[in-house]
């Protein structure tokens, strides 16, 4: 009986969550990509942006939250994420892309010869160079010459070809990779 009561509570919470969250069917655990766009003054204007973004191969679905100036993207599996194309789509519609918000992007963290951190993700296929809003708080995750799988959240404000710069707000390890023993 106790198990049934708990299940009913979970179902009720789930229904409430479905009613409150945006309608876009993004699976839990998927990386999230949100465009912050300014200047969308009316729904008729927003339709122009919608048509441009849905033409991109990487975008399967989208939802526009006009009040917040946000466009939530659901990406097509296996398609490369192109931040240059996203910026061009918003620009071609006549509006301004302020930033691309990245949430829970899982990838391999590495460091290049110049000492810059790189993140390479396979889903979606994309690479970013990383800078850190607060590097001190990420000391435990960052360590020299160690390749780790990490989950990263941050924002992109420069729209250049891969690897574009990603300003990291939060990073957490997914699984440590054993380092080579000396």
């Amino acid at each position: 009986m106790r198990v049934i009561r708990v299940s009913r509570k979970i179902v009720s919470l789930g229904i409430v969550a479905l009613l409150l969250v945006p309608h876009l069917s993004v699976a839990a655990g998927d990386a999230g990509f949100v465009l912050r766009v300014d200047g969308l003054a009316c729904p008729f204007c927003a339709y122009g942006v919608e048509k441009k973004i849905l033409k991109l191969p990487a975008v399967e679905e989208m939802q526009i939250l006009i009040n917040e100036g946000k466009i939530i993207l659901k990406l097509r599996k296996g398609e490369r994420l192109d931040v240059v194309a996203l910026n061009k789509a918003v620009d071609d519609a006549g509006f301004t892309l302020r930033k691309i918000l990245v949430e829970r992007l899982i990838g391999q963290l590495s460091r290049n010869d110049a000492g810059a951190y790189l993140l390479r993700s396979s889903e979606p296929p994309v690479a970013f160079t990383l800078s850190f809003a607060n590097e001190e708080s990420l000391k435990e995750v960052l360590s020299d010459s160690v390749i780790r799988t990490v989950s990263v959240s941050g924002e992109v404000t420069e729209y250049i070809p891969d690897p574009a710069p990603l300003i990291v707000n939060d990073m957490s390890p997914i699984s440590p990779v054993a380092t080579a023993t000396p």
């Binding site: 300014d38 003054a41 339709y47 006549g94």
Partner: protein, 301 residues
């Protein structure tokens, strides 16, 4: 024709010429500047996506009955301007407007003298937005220049069949529930067969307030209330080098309207009421202009 009334309203003779100028001026108020307007009778500087288009169809009904002359003329006209809008680049938008005069009824001393229909001159216009400040969600400030030409493709009785250059500017400030649009358009009329209609200045100010919703939900539609001031100043016409004294003037309309906006269409209605009519000579004064309009987006293949 022997009918004296027809003589007054025909294109023959000085009185007929005056009447023709009067009707042309009145009919000019029925053809809006351009059609990409959040304000219904006012231009805006909001963008049209590159490669995308908008078709705008309107019905504009004019009634003019206040005749200072003893002829007691009345004019009722129904015009359907059709406009195609196309986003050439994110900053450059092209407009093509052609007005269809569906019917024009002219009465004098209680008798119907003329009833006809015609096609007006094609107007081509370009709008280049040189200043853009998208400073927040639902907010933007933009300023654009306008330039174009009215072509002599229409019937004589629906306006002068001349090449008339047009210059202007428009500014838009939108902030969440509020929007203000301001524009000015100057038409330089040219001479044909000794006749030149007066240059024309249109100026408009529109205020739009989103009545519903207070905050957009999942379905992004909105219902707006709009209040506009629409002014038209026309210079006196010239015929064979002589000024036609009973022509030109200044009319200012107050135009309340409503608008329902969705992602895929806009339906709107407005009534233009003259609050100032300072016309030269015995010209008909406008009672009201009623406007009904629909806008639909399209994509060229």
């Amino acid at each position: 024709m022997n009918c004296p009334m027809y003589g007054v309203l025909s294109s023959q003779g000085s009185l007929g010429m005056i009447a023709r100028i009067v009707f042309m001026a009145l009919l000019a108020t029925l053809t809006p500047g351009i059609a990409q307007a959040q304000g219904i009778n006012t231009n805006v500087a909001l963008p049209v996506a590159q490669g995308e288009g908008i078709w705008r169809t309107q019905l504009r009904a004019l009634r003019a009955t206040d005749d200072p002359s003893p002829l007691d003329r009345e004019l009722r006209a129904l015009v359907a301007p059709q406009t195609l809008v196309y986003g050439v680049t994110p900053r450059l938008t092209a407009f093509a407007t052609i007005p269809f005069l569906l019917h024009r009824d002219v009465d004098a001393r209680g008798k119907s003298v003329r009833r006809d229909s015609a096609v007006g001159g094609l107007t081509l216009l370009g709008r280049y937005t040189f200043f853009v400040d998208d400073y927040a969600p639902l907010s933007t400030r933009r300023v654009a220049l306008l330039g174009g030409v009215k072509l002599p493709t229409g019937a004589d009785r629906f306006g002068a069949p001349t090449y008339d250059p047009i210059l202007g500017a428009v500014g838009t400030w939108a902030a969440n529930r509020h929007e203000i649009d301001v524009d000015g358009l100057y038409t330089i009329t040219t001479n044909r067969k000794g006749f030149e209609a007066g240059d024309r200045l249109r100026y408009d100010v529109a205020y739009r307030y989103r009545l519903w919703p207070a905050r957009f939900g999942r379905r992004a539609s909105q219902f707006n209330g709009i209040l506009e001031l629409n002014g038209i100043w026309t210079d006196r016409a010239r015929r064979n080098g002589n000024t036609v004294r009973s022509s030109g003037g200044h009319t200012l309309f107050v135009s309340p309207g409503v608008q329902f906006v969705t992602r895929r269409w806009i339906l709107e209605a407005s009534v233009q009421l003259p609050v100032l009519q300072d016309l030269n000579g015995p010209q008909l004064e406008t009672d009201a202009i009623t406007v009904l309009s629909l806008r639909l987006p399209f994509t060229l293949p």
